[in-house]
Symmetry: C2
Subunit: 212 residues, 2 copies
């Protein structure tokens, strides 16, 4: 059986630590080569999935007019979200660049496609289906970073509107809307940590032994 | 900025391709060194999270009596799940080993802890919180494999019963119950693919251009 070395597990750690959520202020106007995009999608479809159901589907969007329709739902949702914060935070929120729909040459909408038959392991926890899709997305995120390509996950959108824009089947569920492209730089820390929007949690407060 | 090489992205691909969902028939009775467990948890807390909310908590379970309580909910849920399959599949289902709660020296219950204040990016898609936790789990899965440690995700359990066994706060949501340990071997392919429970999907049927 394949045995990985300390060097190899350290490389994985390095990729994990250098991965960033990239927004439109960092993307370059440079097409992603087909070979790189194929490698990112290959990482996705080799993620774990409940009952080997592979319930993922990917819509690749590069057309400017279609991006504009997606961007419109971002604008509506971000205006709504802004109001949930305190006045001071609202000011900061409005200064943040929170998506890269137009700036990223390639957008990928990732869907959960429910199975047409019972899935092994999905009876007691139905959400295991969408969770499988998220595992695929995290594989894409890490592979993108390893290929020096930035990826940003946009969650400030109306999933039903995106479904309609992409003519998605009614049973499909939008899990993520991703923006991918080369970048001028990857930040050394998450942007919301750098800007002190949230503090990094201490690992000791997150781990419990045997029970809470 | 850190630039990764082709060698490094190929190592990541290799780890992704060799990752397996490991069950009790493969785990060895050998404790995971603290250093390895720390590295796996460090990979987890360096996952992306919506609005840098880091909404993950981890309960590490090694006590046999507590494992027995968890195993009891697996038994109940697997009996229920079995009935959802055709008679032929029921026979095969009963022959599959679907968890490794007792055999794995270390179990980890992974929870989503909702924030007590509005989270940036979580207004339009509430599920972005649990999705962040799944990103952490996929990091753990890959890091485990890179350390030659097997990980199995048990989803055939009643999450509310597990919460009660672990005395989890009411607002917490169980995302995953994981079994970790060294293994005698990692299969070359997913077990459900080897046993022809499900077929591998062709990538071409999963990718759409611009829209469905």
């Amino acid at each position: 059986m394949k045995k990985f070395s300390d060097t190899e597990s350290n490389i994985l750690e390095d990729i994990i630590l250098h991965r960033r959520d990239v927004r439109g202020n960092r993307f370059l106007d440079k097409k992603i080569p087909k070979k790189a995009l194929d490698k990112i999608l290959f990482a996705a479809i080799n993620a774990p999935s409940v009952g080997f159901s592979q319930p993922w589907q990917f819509v690749i969007i590069e057309d400017t007019k279609r991006k504009e329709l997606i961007k419109a739902t971002f604008r509506t949702e971000t205006a709504k979200a802004c109001k949930t914060f305190s006045p001071k935070r609202q000011e900061m929120y409005q200064q943040l660049k929170l998506e890269g729909i137009h700036e990223a040459p390639t957008n990928i909408a990732v869907f959960y496609k429910p199975s047409d038959h019972p899935v092994l392991g999905q009876n007691s926890m139905k959400e295991a289906g969408t969770y499988s899709v998220v595992c695929a997305i995290q594989n894409m995120w890490l592979m993108s970073r390893a290929l020096n390509i930035g990826l940003g996950w946009v969650s400030i959108i109306d999933p039903e509107k995106v479904k309609s824009i992409l003519n998605a089947p009614a049973e499909n569920q939008l899990v993520a809307y991703l923006c991918l492209g080369f970048v001028d730089t990857f930040y050394d820390k998450p942007e919301l940590e750098r800007k002190q929007w949230e503090k990094r949690k201490n690992i000791d407060e997150l781990i419990f032994k045997e029970s809470y």
